[in-house]
Point group: C2
Chain length 260, copies 2
DNA sequence: CAGTGGTCTAGACCACAAA
DNA sequence: TTGTGGTCTAGACCACTGG
C-alpha cells in the first residue's frame, strides 16, 4: 500500500521511479516536457544546468544528458556550449515529411502494394540525361519506367536512368521490385553513397496522365532524385510523379508518451 | 616527422587519432562507414559487438555506442537487442523533406523574405471549420490570410483559422509575422502541443491563383495543418498553398564528412 | 547458458562563454 | 576564474536472444 502511495507521490511530485519499466532518462524527459508545457519554463528561458538536474532528480549527468538529447532532437530545447540549455520557441510550425519505402508505407495504410514495369529501354547518350550521367559517346543508358500501385490503382509513375554496363545481365524482376540504388549497385558495381531529392508540385503530362489513369493536368507531386557515387559523379537519375489526389505525405509532431 | 607519419598510418590503418580535434566517436563512425561502403560489411551482415569494437579501437563501450547511434540515426545500421548490430539495406531511396521556418529557409537561399497580411475576418461558427474547432454556437472564428514573399514575389498563400476569444486584443503585426502556434497561445491562452500536417499536390483555385499572381490551375503544394491542445482538441487549422514552380523541398542524404 | 545491446554511474578532462 | 555543455572512461546491472 505504502509502496503504491509512494509511486503516486512520485508522479505528482515529478520524481523518478527507478523501479518502473520506463527508463529514468525517459521519465525525466516527460517531466521536463511537462514543466515546459506548463509554462514554468518559457521559450528562451534557460533550463537548470545538467549538474543541477542530476542532483535534483538523483541521476548521473550522463543520464540527464541522454534525456536532454531526446528533447533536443524533438526541437524542444537547444544546448549551447558554455552558456546553458534553453527552451526553444515552439517548433510546431515546422514539419518533417518522410518519403519512405513504398511497400512499407502502403502496408501501414492497409493498402495492397503492387508494381508494374512499363518500359525498359536502352537510350543513346545524347540528350540532357546523358550529359548528367557522364556517359561516354558510344555507351548506352538504361531507362526504365515503373508504376506503383495501391489496391491495383496507380499511385505513382517512376522514371529511372542509369549507365548501362554491357555484359551485365539485368533481370526484369529486379527492376520491378528493387530499390533504385540497389539496382545500380548490382548492375554497375558502383555503390551510390549520396542521394539528393527535390520535391515540388507539377501537372501531369500526357504520358504520366495516361499511366496514372487520370486527365492531363492532374496535380502531381514531382520528385527528382540524383544518386552520386563516392567520387561525386551522378550514377542515377530518377523522376517520380505521385498522384496528387491519392498520395500525400504526413508529418506528426506530438508530446512524448507518458509512463502510463 | 614521425608524428606526422604516424597520423598518416592511423588514417590508412583506420585507427583512432586521439590528438585530433575530431572526437573519437566521430572518427570511428567515418571508419565504420568506410568499411561498410567498401563492401567489407554487406547489408544484413552483423557488425562486431560493441565490446569487440571497443577493444579493437581502444575506446570505451559508451563511446562506441555513441558512434553506432550516429550511424543508426542515418539509417546505415540497425541494432537488435540480444542479437547484434546489422548493416541495413542502403536507404538512399528514402527521403526526408523538412518544411521549416520560412524566414530562415529563404535566408539560406539568398532570397529576401516578406509577409503580407491579406485578410483578417471574424467568421460565424457554422461551417465545416467551426465544427472542427468545436466552437460554441455564438462564438466566433478568427480567420486570416497571409502571403509569403521571396524577393517581393509571392511564394505561398496561408489560410489560418482559430477560436476567437473576446476581449483579447490581437495585433495585425502579430498575425503578419508570428508563427501560427505562437499566435494561438498568445491570444487564447491555449498552448498547442501537437501538430499534424499533410502535404499533397493540388491546383490553384481562383483566389489562390490571384494571390500567387498566376493562372488558375497552377500546380501547388497544398499543406494542411491541425494544431491540438493538450486535451486533444483542435485549436487551429491552417491551409497553405506553395507555388509549384517557385517553391520546392530538398532532401540530402550523404556520407559523414571525413576528418580532413 | 553465454553473448548481445540498453541503461546507468561517478568521476574526469576539455572547449567555450561570461563576468 | 567560474560555470556551462561536449566528450570520454571503466565498470556495473538488466533484458533479450539463441543455442
Amino acid at each position: 500500500m505504502l509502496h503504491r502511495k509512494d509511486k503516486v507521490n512520485d508522479l505528482k511530485m515529478n520524481k523518478i521511479d527507478k523501479s518502473s519499466f520506463v527508463p529514468p532518462f525517459y521519465q525525466l524527459a516527460t517531466i521536463l516536457e511537462k514543466r515546459i508545457y506548463s509554462g514554468e519554463f518559457k521559450p528562451g528561458d534557460p533550463l537548470p544546468s545538467e549538474t543541477d538536474l542530476g542532483k535534483e532528480y538523483e541521476l548521473s549527468r550522463m543520464t540527464v544528458r541522454k534525456c536532454l538529447n531526446l528533447l533536443a532532437e524533438r526541437g524542444l530545447i537547444v544546448a549551447q556550449q558554455g552558456r546553458g540549455t534553453f527552451v526553444s520557441r515552439p517548433c510546431l510550425d515546422r514539419a518533417t515529411f518522410v518519403l519512405e519505402d513504398f511497400k512499407e508505407e502502403l502496408g501501414r495504410r492497409g493498402l495492397e502494394p503492387g508494381y508494374r514495369l512499363v518500359h525498359v529501354r536502352l537510350l543513346k547518350a545524347t540528350d540532357e540525361i546523358g550529359v548528367k550521367l557522364q556517359v561516354q559517346h558510344d555507351d548506352r543508358i538504361l531507362y526504365y519506367c515503373r508504376l506503383l500501385l495501391g489496391n491495383h490503382e496507380p499511385l505513382a509513375v517512376e522514371h529511372k536512368y542509369m549507365r548501362y554496363v554491357k555484359g551485365k545481365p539485368i533481370l526484369e524482376n529486379e527492376l520491378q521490385y528493387k530499390a533504385f540504388s540497389e539496382v545500380i549497385s548490382l548492375n554497375t558495381d558502383i555503390l551510390p553513397v549520396r542521394s539528393r531529392m527535390t520535391l515540388c508540385a507539377a501537372s501531369a503530362e500526357v504520358e504520366e496522365a495516361q499511366l496514372l489513369n487520370a486527365a492531363v493536368g492532374l496535380p502531381v507531386l514531382k520528385v527528382e532524385q540524383s544518386l552520386y557515387s563516392q567520387d561525386g559523379n551522378i550514377v542515377g537519375i530518377g523522376i517520380f510523379y505521385y498522384h496528387g489526389e491519392r498520395y500525400s505525405l504526413v508529418s506528426d509532431i506530438q508530446p512524448l508518451k507518458g509512463e502510463g
